[in-house]
Amino acid sequence: MIASGELSPRDLVQVSLDRISQLDSSLNAFLDVWEEESLSSAIIAEKEIASGRYLGPLHGIPVGIKDLIDVQGTPTTGGSKVLSRNIAGSDATVTAKLKAAGAILIGKLNLVEFAFGTTGVNPTTGDVKNPWNTTRITAGSSSGSAAAVASGMIPAALGTDTGGSVRMPAAFCGIAGLKPTYGRVSRAGVLDLSWSMDHVGPMTRTSQDCALMMNVLAGHDSRDPASSSNPVNDFTSEIGKGLDGLKIGIPSHYFFDEFVDSEVLVSVCSAVNLLEANGAEVLELSMPWVGKGRPINFGLLLPEAVSIHEKMIAEHADLYTPAVRARVQSGFNVAAIDYVRAQRARQWFNHQMAESMSNVDILITPTVPIQAPTIGECTPSPGNPGAGSELPMFTGVFDVTGQPSHSIPCGFTAAGMPIGMMITGHPFDESTVLRAGHAFEQLTSWHQMPPTDIPAPN
């Protein structure tokens, strides 16, 4: 509609700004909103499009940026007092790519301090509220990104994912979130949490929109030492191919065990049945080793995070929130041999995963094993680390392997909270993951449901 002139970028940005003005005082998704700048950019986009210089599907589209990612001339705080005066000297590569594609950057999004946590609780910047029930967590760490997209403030946002921080909040807020293959999207200009597992990914309403974002974000970047040179194709080219010929693996261990919430299990199993009834082939996979994935994920993350924070915490320990300070400081106790063991275990784990998936295209699992807890249950207090340690049990597995992994809505709990289904593919095969997600979205309407605990748009 923007390309044809039926919808003006200026109107679209104004709708976003109005929605932010209407809702953000209760949801707390944004740390900073760039009203003047985004309207100015929208006017420029409008003129460009009117003069025939249409840059593509993101031209004139408002996008929010997690405040872990640099936008030149603006603060990148990581949601922490430690970096309150940290002004980005240049754009992150992903920021520059979005600008070059004509996207309108509308502001910085709230997060867990330094992305080092899973709930969305942040005493420094304030907790982000779930638009489906504002007493419940969004999950994190890309909490503001998920809440802003789910509530209709913006159509797309960037998140980051080291243990599940794109997919967990996507699941709890009822939106689509893609963690691409490790190395597929540049991390240059993004604050590190764990360099061997940090990913940047899109958070949107649909798989199709994730694919459009990936067309802009993906590609080699010499500024990121882990950036892949693998060729990048059009992520939308196969998205409409449907389910015929698609082989889905269902792990018979861990992801569907008794500890998983029964309503989550019912929704995900129903989704798999629907995919099978519409042309996909479903195979059960024996993966008795897969429960080791999350310990390996945390076992790698912690020493790397401590290494990154060592100097800052020595100088500014008093500025960290107690929970994150405790997480960082606990890592000083990790023995070198344990980190080496975790690295070897990762190699072993990746080998097992590749073997198990050799006869299927994708895995389908729940994204999160539990329903969204309340913010109160997840707020740490002295001697109580707070609930939520179960949240990354499933997502963290695929940060270890670096595979593309995508969460989409597949149902609701009896309490009316969204449930997420995770679709995970072979490395660098985001296209098949997005194709499966899109096919499911064509068969269902979960992704079209509006959140119930916020007012409808004016």
Partner: protein, 67 residues
Amino acid sequence: MNPSDNPQHFHDRAQEHQLVISTEDAANIGEVGSSVASTYAAIREIDTIGFEPAAIFVPTPSKRKGD
């Protein structure tokens, strides 16, 4: 030394690294410490012989610029 959930131990290690640490912090770290300990205990159970991450130490081919 293996990770433990002993707050005193964390307190001592923090002091070695010249970190500011309160009694409350030590208690919080103790809570985190038990999950840290169980994490590495789970990893230690894996037989990883032969799974060294070669990509870290295998050299990447390179040449002098202009060759």
